[in-house]
């Protein structure tokens, strides 16, 4: 599905590349043995290295390196056996060293890709340029005193992976799909928790537009620190329209860094090119290169868990799901586990339908994640079993499901307690039908005279009489026979 901006002079397409920072899951920081845990008393998760005391030498947390390699593998990327750290120099109150240790010249992970599937089933491969390992800065708080900023170095030195995407994205929807897929990959691998609202995954978007068919890239604008998938999509759309308006009026888009304001729904200048920082990158003399052997890399690959893409293909094969459903149900470890528990040994179509429809809907309304679901997967499975065995109808199942959400009770207990078992006794249903026919002779005549649409009315009456418990198939069959 192509995303085109229609202007007066031209049709325009957008070109977007995303840079995503993912906080690495590890116990200790990337270059020191202090805790990488979120929170804590100010400046308590800080060693002399993190606070940049003179003479302190950093050394590398092996797990942070391995987490980056695992992520690289999840991105189908080349793992570089030689990589090295560089210093990116800039001044800010929460950067005690005066530089960030990062990897500009020789990153640990090279080119790879992410495959995305859009809602209409379109597939696209989006290339990843690189992934490099670096350290986070500290945290500044500006609102506690009128003339002071407060600095907490607990985050200083926490391991980050920066994943740089190629400018292959051509719609806000693709950007959203890329981010969601990336998040599902890091979560499946256990390398980053992917929580954008907590800042453990942050995104910068490089946006430019060009006339459809034009192969040259125009000036791009970088939008910083987007902290939700929705904001990324909104910011891209807004920025693309801002650039469109400029070009359509014969203007020129300046290369600059902008900030997205989700309240005013606008992007605004943060830094122009003239004020761009010169980071004066150079190799960090404190850190010798990272040298890996192919055997080490192969060993890491052997211990990788199942990746979302592989899981998706397995879901399509094993559970006969369509591409889109498989994508949604396989994307996240918890969702995939939940679905598999429900689907094992049952009608997989129905399982997918219930998980994606009723369950997701309910969780959305309750503002809960799938781990917090009041209905356990085995319990939802039991509900499906009750339907499969004709103990309850689909309609009653919805009612039971609501009660399960409210009470957390087992499906069979609710059915038993509330007396919701389906009536499958032919004579009992026939009895109800007879009463309705006897009480409504005129409607019966109308039906017999050819107004067959009235069958629905009879079904409704019989259902009402049975308090919704009559087996719908049997009821229909008996009604048609009796009225016929």
């Amino acid at each position: 599905m192509s995303y085109i901006l229609k202007g007066k002079t031209n049709n325009w397409e957008i070109v977007v590349g995303l840079e995503v920072h993912c906080q690495i899951i590890s116990n200790a920081k990337v270059f020191s043995g202090s805790s990488a845990k979120f929170g804590g008393v100010p400046n308590s998760h800080v060693s002399f290295i993190d606070a940049a005391f003179p003479g302190m030498l950093p050394h590398l947390n092996k797990e942070c390196l391995y987490q980056s390699i695992r992520t690289g593998m999840g991105l189908n990327s080349k793992i570089n056996l030689y990589s090295r750290f560089d210093r990116k120099n800039y001044f800010y109150g929460d950067l005690p060293q005066g530089y960030q240790i990062t990897q500009l010249f020789y990153p640990i992970v090279g080119e790879g890709y992410i495959d995305i599937t859009l809602e209409d089933g379109t597939k696209k491969r989006l290339r990843v340029e690189r992934l490099h390992l670096e350290q986070d800065a500290g945290k500044s708080i500006h609102d506690r005193a009128p003339h002071l900023s407060f600095v907490d170095l607990n985050r200083s030195g926490v391991g980050l992976m920066e994943i740089v995407g190629m400018p292959d994205i051509s719609s806000p929807e693709e950007a959203g799909a890329y981010l969601r897929k990336l998040r599902s990959i890091v979560r499946a691998l256990g390398t980053c928790d992917g929580n954008m609202d907590e800042g453990s995954m942050r995104c910068d978007a490089n946006v430019s537009i060009r006339p459809v068919g034009d192969k040259n890239l125009r000036n791009r604008v970088e939008i910083k620190n987007l902290n939700s998938v929705k904001f990324v999509m909104q910011a891209i759309e807004l920025e693309a329209h801002r650039q469109l308006a400029i070009y359509e009026e014969g203007g020129h888009v300046t290369q600059e860094t902008r900030l997205f304001d989700s309240i005013k729904m606008e992007t605004r200048t943060m830094r122009s090119k003239e004020n761009a920082l010169d980071y004066r990158y150079f190799p960090d003399p404190d850190l010798p290169p990272v040298l890996l052997t192919q055997e080490e890399v192969d060993e890491i690959r052997r211990t990788l868990p199942e990746l979302p893409e592989d899981r998706k293909n397995r879901f399509i094969k094993e559970y006969h799901l369509n591409e889109y459903d498989a994508d949604i149900l396989s994307g996240d470890n918890k969702t995939a586990e939940y679905f598999e528990t429900v689907a094992k040994g049952r009608d997989t179509d129905k399982a997918a339908h219930w998980v994606m429809g009723d369950l997701f809907g309910a969780l959305n309304k309750l503002g809960k994640s799938i781990e917090q679901s009041p209905v356990s997967p085995s319990n939802l499975g039991k509900l499906l079993d009750l339907m499969a065995k004709d103990v309850i109808s689909g309609k009653i199942a919805k009612e039971v499901f609501e009660l399960m959400l409210e009470t957390g009770k087992d499906a069979d207990i609710i059915v038993e307690e509330k007396g919701l078992k389906q009536i499958t006794d032919t004579s009992e249903i026939e009895g109800m039908i007879d009463t309705i026919i006897a009480e409504n002779p005129e409607t019966v005549s109308e039906y017999k005279a050819g107004k067959t649409k009235l069958l629905g009315w009879f079904v409704g009456q019989a259902m009402k009489a049975s308090k919704g418990k009559a087996n719908p198939g049997l009821l229909n069959q008996l009604l048609t026979k009796k009225l016929g």
Partner: protein, 95 residues
């Protein structure tokens, strides 16, 4: 050739306040140093000589992912002249 404008910009990056006279003399000094590097080093035969980012040989020293350090906030902040409630404080920084 390094001129005063470049020196001014460089000084700004590293937060150094220089007088115009200092900028002038620095520009001269830098230019001479770079000329020396050019004359003495770049013109040498360097074929096959690998760049040396560090004087330390070998691979990066690494450690297992265990928390073995930290938890001494008072010591960490003790060298700072300004602290409040365990935070370092600095003149307000607003981007």
């Amino acid at each position: 050739m390094i001129d005063k404008t470049i020196i001014h910009e460089m000084a700004n990056w590293v937060r150094l306040r220089l007088t115009p006279e200092e900028e002038e003399s620095m520009a001269k000094e830098f230019s001479e140093t770079l000329k020396w590097i050019n004359d003495e080093m770049i013109t040498k035969e360097l074929e096959g000589v690998k760049p040396m980012p560090s004087v330390i040989e070998g691979t990066i020293p690494s450690f297992e992912d265990k928390v073995t350090d930290g938890n001494y906030p008072e010591t960490v902040t003790s060298c700072s002249e300004h602290t409040v409630d365990g935070f370092f404080t600095v003149p307000k920084m607003v981007e």
